[in-house]
């Protein structure tokens, strides 16, 4: 593990209206960070930008874009790099939970989910990896999920999208670490966000603020993979250790 990272001064956030991204950006804003925010809805971006500016951000640029439109990624990313001057940290935070029961019946739902959670991430990651490789420093972070650690019946397409994302990020890390670039895979458990608002909130649910603090610590310590809250690391280790002949019969 290399030296510690400083608090990023220029930050690109893709999926900036996500609850976890918002909580994380609020930690940075009082340090005078500059932001470039991308999300679908302009009205929401404006609210997030006002919040960050009030909390001390030096500048907040917004761009409304549906990140499913991978053909528009390069131009958007070039604008972000130009506006920020240099990108200290890029955070990929967009994603959908989808509905497994719908995906079971209708492949187009599964395809949509894979496109948003995986294909668009590969598109962004491809451009960003080249950018960071040339820059020779910086942090590429992406919010994955503990669901990518093992395939479960109840969220198998979502899990597959996150597993694919984990593999892709592992590969980028393998390429970029030696160039001085941190690639951080963030694997939260259940987080109380709009994405999970329809689910009963049991004791395993964490608040986005807690997850955001873990993310920032992982960035500063140049970690590779962070489970948040911490106990998921051990819980998912146990889940992965269950032999497949046993796991396939479990109701999970």
């Amino acid at each position: 593990m290399a030296h510690k990272n400083a608090i990023p001064q220029t930050v690109l956030v893709l999926g900036a209206t996500s609850a976890i991204a918002q909580a994380w950006m609020r930690l940075l804003a009082p340090h005078g960070t500059q932001f470039f925010l991308v999300a679908r809805q302009e009205e929401r971006l404006r609210a997030v930008a006002a919040d960050l500016q009030t909390r001390g951000a030096t500048a907040v640029h917004i761009e409304a874009l549906n990140l499913d439109r991978t053909d528009e990624h390069p131009a958007m990313l070039e604008r972000a790099a130009r506006v920020l001057g240099r990108i200290d940290c890029a955070m990929i935070a967009h994603g959908v939970l989808g509905d497994q029961s719908q995906a079971d019946r209708d492949f187009s739902h599964a395809a949509m989910l894979l496109h948003t959670n995986l294909i668009s991430v590969v598109s962004l990651g491809t451009w960003l990896a080249n950018y960071f490789e040339a820059q020779g420093q910086g942090t590429l972070a992406a919010i994955s999920s503990v669901a990518g650690d093992r395939g479960r019946w109840k969220n198998c397409v979502y899990g597959a999208s996150k597993a694919g994302m984990n593999m892709f990020l592992d590969g980028l890390r393998n390429r970029l670490d030696r160039r001085g670039v941190q690639v951080l895979t963030i694997r939260p458990g259940f987080v109380a966000t709009p994405m999970t608002a329809h689910m009963p909130q049991g004791p395993l649910f964490a608040q986005p603020e807690r997850v955001a603090r873990d993310i920032q610590r992982a960035i500063e310590k140049r970690r590779d993979i962070v489970y948040t809250p911490w106990f998921w690391r051990w819980m998912m280790l146990a889940v992965r250790l269950i032999p497949e002949w046993k796991f396939k019969r479990m109701d999970v």
Binding site: Q41, E43, R44, A47, D51, T54, R55, P194, P200
Partner: protein, 452 residues
């Protein structure tokens, strides 16, 4: 949001509407409602429309003013963005789900403090306006609503009303203290006050009886914060003994660090017998004698001064599943002394006790809110565990005494007043009712306007 949500057994399904048990901070009553969390201003009004509905923030009011049996609660905690801050004037604009704790976390390091704060910082700005809360500085600063120059109200039909003392002033007056019934407060401006230190110059003075309390209050009207803790269990020689507390923000500059997160939490419900009369007698005696001298002065941090109970999350669990009732009345000065003595006597005679009973003189600053609770006089607030009908009978008696003495009760702390009592305390309620959103109501409102 802090209202407890007991999840149904099944994990499946993505249905957006579930009925769950809700309770307020007093844990009584418990009602079934659906919850619709709002995360963006564009999430309201709901489409398709639902009725009835009621906005709820942290659920820290005590009775049923933030509950709605069989309806939809609009959770406002997701509306937690700060929108603008003027570092020169201290004027903050924020969404209505921002809590006072979040404002302090943001503003204290910049040298600003809340204009008015209740005994907990875990309430939202929207809730603070809707209940027009007051604090230890009421005698000089008035209510929270006195420091809210402007807010935006959104009605369930989508109409947006910008409200201030000069613009739509009737909506402004109806919404401050309007119990969340006039529509959803989308955002509000709060005028903060400057500080140079986290510290409060504190003085604690022991007193015996209402006369000494009133004399101390009169002699300390220069102090920004005054409040008294009173022993409401002891009778005879120790009747109405207490500690009078004064505080002012320190003028000596000191590092303005943010407060660390609380770590203590009550993890489970205490059994009902844990809070017996003996325990409360011991606590009240210990609290009185904790202060070793008749008069003490100290420099204390604002957290323990304003929020002694916030250190322990879920402290309401010590009252057990049955919960507790809050009682808060204000009596006009004309009947203040003997009226308060009679009320304290009735409580002491009932054999029911309270851990924390609080006495304060309320001052002249008038609230812009038409349904606001405070008025010049003496206010008493206390909580009593629900043991049996004895508790309810005592509360009915206290409400009647309040009525006879020309006082009134605080809706945000009430689970018990009758429709007749409410309509006597707040005769302006009929005019106020015209401003209620047709899709908005609460269990409280249904209870106190029943049959009208």
């Amino acid at each position: 949001m802090r209202t407890k949500l007991i999840p149904p057994a099944s994990e499946s399904g993505s249905e957006s509407k579930r009925e769950s048990d809700f309770e307020s901070w007093g844990r009584y009553p418990k009602v079934k409602s659906s919850l619709r969390p709002l995360h963006w201003m564009g999430d309201f009004p709901l489409r398709p429309a639902v009725s009835p509905q009621l906005p709820v923030g942290m659920g820290r009011s005590y009775g049923d003013v933030c509950l709605l049996e069989g309806g939809t609660l609009l959770g406002t905690r997701g509306l937690d963005r700060l929108l603008a801050f003027d570092a020169q004037t201290g004027l903050l604009r924020c969404e209505s789900g921002v809590t006072l704790a979040e404002i302090l976390r943001f503003a204290v390091p910049l040298g600003w403090f809340l204009p008015v704060t209740p005994g907990t910082k875990y309430v939202t700005v929207g809730g603070a306006i809707a209940n027009d809360i007051h604090g230890k500085n009421h005698h000089v600063a008035g209510t929270f609503g006195c420091h809210v120059p402007r807010f935006e109200l959104v009605r369930s039909d989508g109409t947006r009303i910008s409200c201030s003392a000069s613009e739509n002033s009737d909506w402004f007056a109806a919404t401050i203290g309007g119990m969340g019934l006039t529509g959803l407060i989308a955002w509000a401006e709060v005028q903060l006050r400057p500080i140079v230190s986290r510290n409060i110059c504190y003085e604690g003075i022991r007193f015996h009886g209402m006369d000494e309390f009133l004399a101390l209050s009169a002699a300390s009207s220069h102090a920004e914060y005054t409040v008294a803790w009173i022993d409401c269990i002891s009778r005879g020689r120790n009747f109405a003994r207490g500690i009078f507390m004064l505080g002012d923000h320190s003028h000596l500059p000191d590092p303005l660090l943010p407060t660390p997160e609380p770590r203590l939490s009550v993890p489970f419900d205490f059994p009902g017998w844990a809070l017996n009369r003996f325990a409360m007698r011991v606590f009240n005696g210990a609290y009185y004698h904790k202060q070793r001298h008749r008069h003490v002065s100290a420099l204390v941090d604002y957290e323990p001064f304003f929020y002694p109970l916030d250190k322990v999350l879920h402290w309401n669990r010590i009252y057990g599943k049955r919960g507790f009732l809050q009682f808060q009345c204000v009596l006009p000065f004309a009947h203040g002394r003997e009226g308060m003595e009679a009320i304290l006597q009735a409580i002491a005679d009932s054999g029911l006790g309270s851990f924390l009973a609080v006495l304060k003189v309320m001052g002249n600053p008038a609230s812009p809110g038409s349904m606001s609770f405070p008025m010049p006089g003496i206010t008493l607030a206390l909580d009593i565990p629900i043991h049996s009908d004895v508790t309810f009978r005592l509360f009915d008696r206290l409400a009647e005494m309040t009525r006879e003495l020309g006082g009134r009760l605080y809706p945000a702390k009430d689970a018990r007043m009758t429709a007749a009592q409410f309509q006597f305390f707040y005769p302006q309620w009929r005019e106020f009712a015209a401003y209620r959103d047709p899709d908005f109501t609460s269990s409280f409102w249904e209870r106190v306007t029943h049959g009208a």
